[in-house]
């Protein structure tokens, strides 16, 4: 996001202020009247909260980026699974995913396991990480045979320590969408709308894809749920 914002400031000669935080915290700021023009949520659910609280204009709601789940293995490992269905193989002794109670990537990973009927075979093999970063670390150190993380996180792994062997089919889990909507109280509506268009444009998307994000679905209308 920081890359895109910097590029936008250069391209549009405008100033853009970024404010990162947990959803609850950001929504509280908007409610308290902080001068925020655009809200980008890390999931559809979080945007639902903002819409429900009537803090954003739901008509402007649109997906700006998409993430994928990938299966990663230690780069040095031989005999690694080559795809999600290989996880059932007895050579996989430990599979790391995010703790589903607190890590959204872990929730999506559990959806994938359920969808592929791998829940029972993985039950005694699962190790929960308290963050996606910890899951990556377990795989980097070779303490587990495989891990499931976001494509964007797999890119953050130490050089040559982790190999991406498969990308999960998007039908196996809820969409991992980053959703933007314009804040109702904004005084910069046209500028905010322009930035949303910019975010979905090729230039911004190529920057995002360098970080491992996938393009948003083609619908230019607000994403239907």
């Amino acid at each position: 996001m920081t890359d895109v914002a910097k590029q936008y400031e250069r391209d549009a000669s405008k100033h853009l202020e970024l404010n990162f935080g947990a959803t609850g915290q950001l929504l509280a700021q908007i409610r308290e009247g902080a001068p925020i023009d655009l809200f980008i949520a890390a999931s559809e659910d979080q945007m639902d909260q903002a819409v429900k609280a009537e803090l954003v204009d739901s008509a402007t709601r649109v997906v700006v980026a998409n993430n994928r789940l990938v299966l990663i293995v230690p780069a040095s490992a031989t005999d690694s699974p080559r795809g999600f269905t290989d996880l059932a193989s007895p050579t996989v002794k430990r599979l790391a995913v995010g703790q589903p109670k607190i890590v959204p990537a872990g929730q999506y990973a559990m959806q994938v396991l359920k969808k592929l009927d791998l829940e029972s075979s993985q039950k005694d093999r699962l190790v929960f990480g308290s963050s996606v970063r910890q899951v990556l670390d377990y795989v980097e150190r070779g303490e587990v045979d495989a891990g499931i993380v976001y494509a964007t996180d797999a890119q953050l792994a130490g050089k040559g320590k982790v190999r991406v062997v498969a990308v999960a089919d998007e039908r196996w889990h809820d969409p991992i969408h980053y959703v933007a909507a314009i804040v109702r109280a904004t005084k910069q509506y046209p500028a905010a709308a322009e930035f949303v268009r910019y975010l979905r444009d090729d230039r911004a998307q190529s920057l995002l894809s360098k970080r491992g994000f996938a393009p948003p679905p083609p619908a230019t209308q607000p994403a239907a749920r």
């Binding site: 002794k93 703790q99 039950k123 190790v127 929960f128 990480g129 150190r141």
Partner: protein, 216 residues
Amino acid sequence: MSFVAPMFLSLKVALVATMLVALVGIPLAFAMARRRFPGRGVLDALLIVPLVLPPTVVGYLILIVFGAHGMIGSILHHAFGYSIVFNWHGAVVASTIVALPLLYLPAKAAFANIEREMEDLSRVMGANGLQIFWHVSLPLARRGIASGLVLAYARALGEFGATVMVMGDLPDRSTLPISIYNDYVSGELSHAAPAVIALAAISLAMVLLYNRTIRP
């Protein structure tokens, strides 16, 4: 998650760890109380230092040794496809190391306080070293050993820092202290109440037992 399964796992881990502590700690305490040898001071310090080290440091060191790339871990991994990491055996190793000093210190003191005439007399009467240890020294040191074992068990039961690093967070297979922490992290602290009460009650009982064992 119910606290019953974590409680049984904790009791099991603590029991196995205490047996290992006895197996390793009692002979070591006896040897250290009787023998002089080069490096004795260093070995003594190494056995005691887990008492004051942060458990996270112990956990880190265990991972260095028993991790997938560790000195012992890589051998186990390649030869048997086995690892103590992400396994309740790892919890046993962590608890054993952390609890060992609690037995070692009182046991060593108890052996040192035995009147040497008793052992000398046995030797004159023809007993060998092992017989002396088993029939004379061990019974005379039993109070110190028993109190140490009670404390070691209580400490092993509550071990968290090193255990959570070595055993990790396994679904439906966490120890009591880890289940309390998981409830806290996932914003369900109120769910931890039964586990907290169980741990507090068992620990209190162990301390009461300890007080009885040291009473002359």
